[in-house]
Symmetry: C2
Subunit: 339 residues, 2 copies
């Protein structure tokens, strides 16, 4: 298999910890490793080569991080502008042979159960070898409204539901028939392109031209990139295709989608110590302090995330992580130099 | 009158805003002025000269601040070690003529009603001219257990009660017969020394020697200073003397004894703007952010004081200001270089 890493994200929900120079997936937060590095290491057992599709301003750092982890046979494809996952995946598919199975993963997830993950991927690979497009479905843990859901029956997909409302999410959770869409999937390059051509022909044709440009010159022009319609692979292909399978999996999965998720990950797996922090009348267990330049003292404060960077200091009540988007918007309008 | 400023304090309750280099009274927090400067300005109407008694490591900064406010005729007496208020006041009294009325004030109080204050001081001065020792009593606002109380009858003192328990404080507040002891008082130098000789002869004699040393050499040795017993003027003289009067006053008074008091003072009198701070889902009115080096963002956080200094970052729940003492103790034991 070839590993395709979708490394183009530039999240807004971990500002000021992440910023335009260092997006979430490149932060060395996990025992000194980044989510990108962990993603590569997690999948190395199954993949002989890796192609990372990355925003051009992060290409150099991504290459350095990957090579540190022994990823010798790595190809980087730098996007001058991001055009969502369908474009990135199409570009990747055009640069390889039709029979190569692509294992496509986001660069910014954390998975706590490597053996179970490996089993899941082996199953997905088998289904992909039989010319299916295969997505990994996760056991839902709570009625999250921000994810996509997959109604399933064995390995068969009954239907996709994107970002349901709270009532629907609750009902889906209770029914036991639904999985979360992990964003990890698997398929032969040729099968993927076939399905793209059928269900999203504009993406298919524009991506073919951009991929040709890249193979000739080693880079993609802004014009070629912007000619590709921006859409997710879920909308463009998976929800429309009749050859999609799902592998249900109980892997421990964290999309590090905000500070609460990050705090959970650091606390449970990395024994993150609130170094440089002192707690007076405050429980050190329910708060997280990130930032090394000075002593941080919490007095009578509970359930907060404190992030102290050279650019800014964030003090966030746990449970309000979604509001960091609003903060990001404020900073964009008022102090754009800090992003 | 001569103004005597007791400038020796080095509070622990405003760390890290204040530290050993810059104690509370020297911080330029109030429209760019310090409590020391405001103290001098508030009393200038009544005093022809001023003597500030200050820890020797802060003498230079105190002199600079006073001269900025036009205090030409200022004398600084640098203490090599602090020996509490009785020692400082005795030293001051020995350096002036017996008939001079001394107006003795702490350097670290904030008073919001200058005209009422001036009236109060004029009344105190008249009583001092008649050979009384005169203290300023404040209308108590709540059953504070950290202050001294004075039971009064007109200008007469019935009794002093130091730091009562909560039940006693509540009863004293309700009775209407008690005032808070402000720490501001007034008396002729000769009368003060007479009373000191009678009620605290050891302080009197040791201070006489130290004052003589200062008048000869311009400085006081550690030995001479340490020979003076350490006691407050309240314990050493006021509670024992029969010639003490009290002037009840309704001045708006704030001892800036902790972060809550500081936040109140800044909010109510100085229209302190939480500059460099952004509030998302957080009320900017009930929190205070001090620190200019970077943007501070509060998301979903209420009723906190945030102090960001080069040494440390403090996040304090309002109402827990007393616990800053514990924090100070922790820092003393673990990171003494930060004090």
């Amino acid at each position: 298999m070839q590993h395709i890493i979708l490394c183009g994200g530039s999240g807004t929900r971990l500002w000021p910890l992440s910023n335009r120079h260092t997006p979430k997936q490149l932060l060395p937060l996990f025992d000194g490793k980044s989510l990108l590095q962990l993603t590569w290491l997690r999948n190395a057992f199954a993949c002989s080569s890796v192609l990372a599709i990355v925003n051009e301003q992060h290409a150099e750092e991504a290459a350095i991080q990957m090579s540190k982890e022994g990823a010798g046979d790595i190809t980087l494809m730098a996007e001058p502008v991001g055009r969502n996952t369908a474009a990135a995946i199409a570009l990747a598919a055009f640069t390889t042979t039709p029979d190569t199975i692509l294992l496509i993963t986001p660069a910014d997830h954390l998975i706590g159960t490597p053996e179970l993950y490996a089993e899941t991927i082996e199953t997905a690979k088998e289904l992909a070898a039989a010319n299916n497009l295969v997505t990994i479905g996760l056991q839902p843990l709570y009625p999250e409204t921000g994810y996509g859901y997959i109604q399933y029956d064995g390995y068969d997909v009954v239907r996709f539901t994107e970002k349901p409302d709270a009532v629907t999410a609750e009902a889906m959770l209770k029914s036991g028939d639904y999985l979360w869409n992990s964003g990890i999937f698997c398929g032969k390059a040729g099968v993927l392109l076939e399905q793209l051509e059928e269900h999203a022909p504009q993406i298919y044709h524009a991506a073919a031209l951009a991929a040709a440009e890249w193979m000739q010159t080693g880079s993609i022009s802004v014009d070629a990139m912007e000619a590709i319609p921006s859409d997710s692979i879920d909308y463009a292909v998976l929800e429309k295709s009749s050859i999609v399978k799902v592998v249900p999996s109980a892997i421990e999965w964290n999309d590090v989608g905000g500070y609460e998720a990050l705090a959970d990950a650091l606390a449970s797996h990395y024994r993150y110590s609130n170094h440089q922090a002192v707690f007076i009348g405050s429980d050190p267990v329910n708060s997280m302090v990130i930032g090394k330049d000075k002593l941080v003292a919490l007095v009578g404060i509970e359930d907060v995330v404190v992030v102290n960077t050279p650019d800014a200091l964030l003090i966030l009540k746990k449970g309000k992580g979604q509001d960091v988007k609003q903060l990001h918007q404020w900073v964009k309008e008022n102090r754009p130099e800090l992003l």
